[in-house]
Every structure is written in C-alpha cells, then in structure tokens.
Symmetry: C2
Subunit: 129 residues, 2 copies
Amino acid sequence: MVRRTGDRATSGRVRVLALLLAEQRAITHHEIEERLSGGRRLDRVTLYRVLEWLSEKCLVHRVVNDDRVWRFRANAHSDTHQHAHFKCTRCTTVICLDDPQAAYDGPLPAGYRLQEIELTVKGLCAACA
Amino acid sequence: MVRRTGDRATSGRVRVLALLLAEQRAITHHEIEERLSGGRRLDRVTLYRVLEWLSEKCLVHRVVNDDRVWRFRANAHSDTHQHAHFKCTRCTTVICLDDPQAAYDGPLPAGYRLQEIELTVKGLCAACA
DNA sequence: TGACGTATTGCAACAAAGTTGCGTTTACTA
DNA sequence: TAGTAAACGCAACTTTGTTGCAATACGTCA
C-alpha cells in the first residue's frame, strides 16, 4: 500500500500503517508511539510526519475528539467523505460506525458550498455504560 | 441570565456572555480576548474559567474545529443536545445551522448508550467559495 | 552488488492552547 | 458596612504539535 503511492516505503510508514490496520478504532499519536516501543523507537516528530503523510495519501483519516487530540484510523474501504463516529464521553475512545446514515437535508446559507458531512454520536461505550 | 444561575454575577461573566450573545457565530478564546481589550482587560486564565463556567451552566456551548481550538457560542434557544455546525475548511469559521436535521438511525454496538448527536457539515463559506 | 543523490529521519528548540497553585480582590449576605 | 467565600490575576507548568537543520537510509542506476 505504501509503495503504491509512488513515495518511499520507509520502515516507519510501514510499521505505523500496519499497526493502524490491525487496530479496530481510531487511536492517538500517543497510543501509536507506545505500541511502537518494541523494535526501534520512532521519533515523536517523525511519527507526526508519518501520520501527516499517511493522511495526505488517504491511507488514514483523522478525527478530533472533544479532548482536542487527533486520532488516526486506517482507511480500509475507499473513502466516501462521509464519516460517522462514536465518541465515548467518559473514556474518550473513538470508534467508527460502519454504516454511516449521515445526511443533511436542511438548507445551507446562500453561497455556502458543501464538501463533506461528519456525524458524531456521543454517549457511553459498553465498558463505561 | 448570569444571576439566574445562583452564582455570582461578575463583570467578566457578564461581559463575555454579552459579547457571545451579540455574535452570530462560534468564536475562539483568542477572538473573545481581543474583543474585550476595550475596558479592563480580562486575564487569559480568568477567561478560560469564565468560559468553562458558562458552558457548565449551559449558557454557552463549545465546538472543536479541525484546528483543535475550542470555539464558543451563546445558547439562545434551549439546548436540545442536538447540534448541527458548518465548518469552513478554508478560513475555519464555524457557524451553527439553526434547523438541525441531525438524526442517527443506524445501529450502535451492543451496550453502547447514545447521549447526543452532532452533525458537522464541512465545506466553503460564502466568502471562501 | 555498490555508490550516489534526494527523501526521510532524529534532535533540539519553539509555539500555541490550556491547566494548576496560590495569594489578592470582589460580590453578595447579614 | 463588615465579613467571607467565590472569583480573579499572576507565574509557572503541561500537552500537543511544528520548524530548522544536520545525519541517515531508500531506491536507482552503473
């Protein structure tokens, strides 16, 4: 996947993408850093750059939670630019809802152009409920 | 409005709420600080605490944009816990869409409990389109 | 297979946004 | 109008993310 972009396949990119593909939810920069601690540790800055590159290449997408921290998740399926996420208000876990029903039929102000719709469902996850 | 909460009506709380009520969109801590510069300047920390208090009392609500900065907006109408926001991907302005059509009919994982639905429409505002 | 050039990396320093502790001031109560 | 607890202001700190630059490694081509 990394090589298919035409850019270099570095070990950082491969390791981070593999890790995110294995994960079932959106995780933070910090969590990724911890999980990479086995093997050669990736520099904090490098990880930021790897994540930036991955999301530029649409191999990954970012979500902001109310704790203002980016979370990253591998894009398994082709990106439809229509996401639905669930955010637990207690433990701040973020998961992706697979069957997004997101739609907006209401009016936008005159001159506004719609690009993307994001639906966020907040509540308690099974562990916190 | 401030006094009705039962807590103290300090000049900071009154000034910030008045300012947010006059504003038609969600603005950042920084923008609020600038607009308050006439009159006695409010300390940065105090402003954070005033905003926290206002949103605790539901006089104001917070939105996080993709720039990971809190934005605040006065709650004119009673809060239904169902918001719809428009975020301009270019100038990062945030406005509230008044007629939220937000709904989620899809399934949540077992054990998950829904508290609030937030719909975010991203695109270009009239000035940036 | 090995040398080369450029894309990446790692380090250090910086920046923005927000938080905490603590002594001082102020709004409300009596 | 005096007393008191809640807010405030200041300074220092934390977290998250960014920038500049020299060192390293990926991929190419001989």
